[in-house]
């Protein structure tokens, strides 16, 4: 039994996030996942990101609705991107399975978008609203954003869980509602810091002018690193 492989490992043909280059030799798009509980503003964040970035980048979106096509339809209605740049994946009542345990339908959607409207710089993969344990597979996305809101209670960062603790960016949305729901933003920031260490946290109020700025700046920085990396 040899421990060293003399041949290269067989090509996996999964176009997983592990491989930065597509079969045709081009660098694939950066993939960023957005997850988080129902109603926290994932789709609104995706829409705002598309508006902020669509003039400078080639973008596409994959949605994972739980039982309708509402998220995809919202993005279409808001006309944040042309219809051919938005793809809806059906998840069989289990949104976290489609982004973590069995990512095949999502990989297919990503691949088809790159084939039909590519080359793309960035693909946003939005999870269906789920719970605090939902995270994306590293085989599907390069980075993940977890979106929570102040109205869900200021104890969520303290409770932690894989999304809050390990996401590459934690977004705490709807800060404009904080006074109305009696939430202490400084306390949420302290709790998030305790759970996340050096990982970043962005406070957003999407209803305000340029409200998505902290997130779009973070995305631009990830994309700059990605483009500078080995192809």
């Amino acid at each position: 039994m040899h421990l060293d492989h003399h041949e290269t490992f067989p090509e996996r043909h999964t176009y997983s996030a592990a491989a930065p280059v597509r079969a045709d030799g081009r660098r694939r798009a950066l993939r960023i996942g957005l997850g988080g509980p129902v109603g926290t503003g994932k789709t609104a964040t995706v829409a705002a990101l598309c508006r902020a970035l669509r003039d400078e980048l080639s973008l596409a979106v994959v949605t994972n609705d739980i039982y309708t096509r509402e998220d995809a339809e919202f993005l279409l209605r808001e006309a944040v991107l042309p219809a051919e740049r938005i793809s809806a994946v059906e998840t069989g009542a289990c949104p976290h399975t489609a982004i973590r345990d069995d990512i095949s339908a999502n990989l297919e959607a990503v691949e088809d978008l790159e084939d039909t409207v590519g080359p793309l710089d960035l693909i946003l993969v939005e999870s269906g609203g789920d719970n605090l344990t939902a995270t994306f597979s590293k085989g599907l996305v390069d980075f993940q954003i977890f979106v929570i809101d102040v109205a869900g209670g200021d104890d969520i960062p303290r409770k932690g869980g894989p999304g809050v603790t390990t996401a590459d960016l934690l977004v705490i949305n709807k800060t404009d509602l904080a006074p109305y729901v009696g939430v202490d933003l400084a306390g949420m920031a302290r709790d998030a810091k305790a759970q996340r260490g050096e990982l970043p946290v962005a406070f957003t109020a999407l209803k305000t002018e340029n409200g998505v700025r902290p997130v779009s700046d973070w995305v631009r920085a990830r994309l700059a690193d990605w483009t500078a990396g080995p192809a």
Binding site: P10, E11, R12, H13, T14, I66, Y67, T68, R69, V89, E90, T91, G92, A93, C94, T97, A98, D101, D102, I103, S104, A105, L107, E108
Partner: protein, 224 residues
């Protein structure tokens, strides 16, 4: 190769996209035809002996080394409605992705190149079984079992059915799975010598009709 590869292939957690499909259970639940463990068992028995048998034979033939493109055409001929052809090809493409990562093989690469949008899922599964060193009968078993486990899992989610009852349904049907896998394997192994016409062509017209209607539902939990 190891026989345990069959457990990997037949595991419901094998990441090939099946979790998003109910195998016709969602429309059957909505119509009241599946409402408890007993009706789930009837539904599963019917599916197993019709589309399950056809799929098992296709998989066995692919695992026996028959031309997968010939089998893909035979699968089209045995799948009358567009909605189910589309589902079979989409699941075939997803199975192909998982199989090529799991059991790399030039035969899989060749079929993927010939059918980039996906070949019928049982054909791909049969070829994957061959790549894993499994027998035609193993492939037939995996497909026959999958024709039950998909709807049973979906029924648990759709009806909040007791999961122990749903699993007992699968156990009750074990002897039927044996029979269908044997029949499917026997037919599949004759294809090389006698051609694709020896493959069974059993059909379940109600599954075809409800699949076509379900594909147009605006709100649904499962893709099929």
């Amino acid at each position: 190769m190891s026989r345990a590869a069959l457990l990997v292939l037949a595991d419901g957690r094998f990441p090939a996209g099946g979790h998003a499909h109910s195998g016709g259970a969602e429309p059957a639940v909505a119509a009241g035809r599946i409402k408890d463990a007993a009706t789930l068992e009837s539904f599963c028995r019917g599916r197993l002996h019709t589309t399950g048998l056809v799929a098992a034979a296709l998989a066995a033939a692919a695992a026996a080394g028959c031309d997968p493109l010939l089998l893909d055409d035979a699968a089209d001929a045995r799948t009358p409605v567009p909605a189910l052809r589309q589902v079979a090809r989409r699941l075939g493409r997803q199975m192909m992705r998982a199989a090529r990562a799991t059991w790399p093989d030039p035969a899989l690469d060749a079929l993927a190149a010939a059918r980039p949008r996906g070949a019928h899922q049982p054909v791909v599964l049969g070829l994957a079984a061959r790549s894993a060193g499994l027998s035609p009968q193993d492939a037939a078993y995996a497909v026959a079992y999958e024709s039950l486990s998909g709807p049973a899992t979906a029924a648990v989610r759709l009806l909040s059915l007791d999961p122990f009852d749903a699993t007992a349904v699968l156990a009750h049907l074990a002897a039927d799975v044996d029979r269908v896998a044997e029949q499917g394997a026997a037919a599949g192994e004759r294809v090389a010598a006698e051609g694709a016409d020896v493959l069974p062509a059993a059909s379940a017209p109600l599954l075809d009709i409800t699949a076509e209607a379900h594909a147009a539902w605006p709100v649904r939990l499962f893709a099929s």
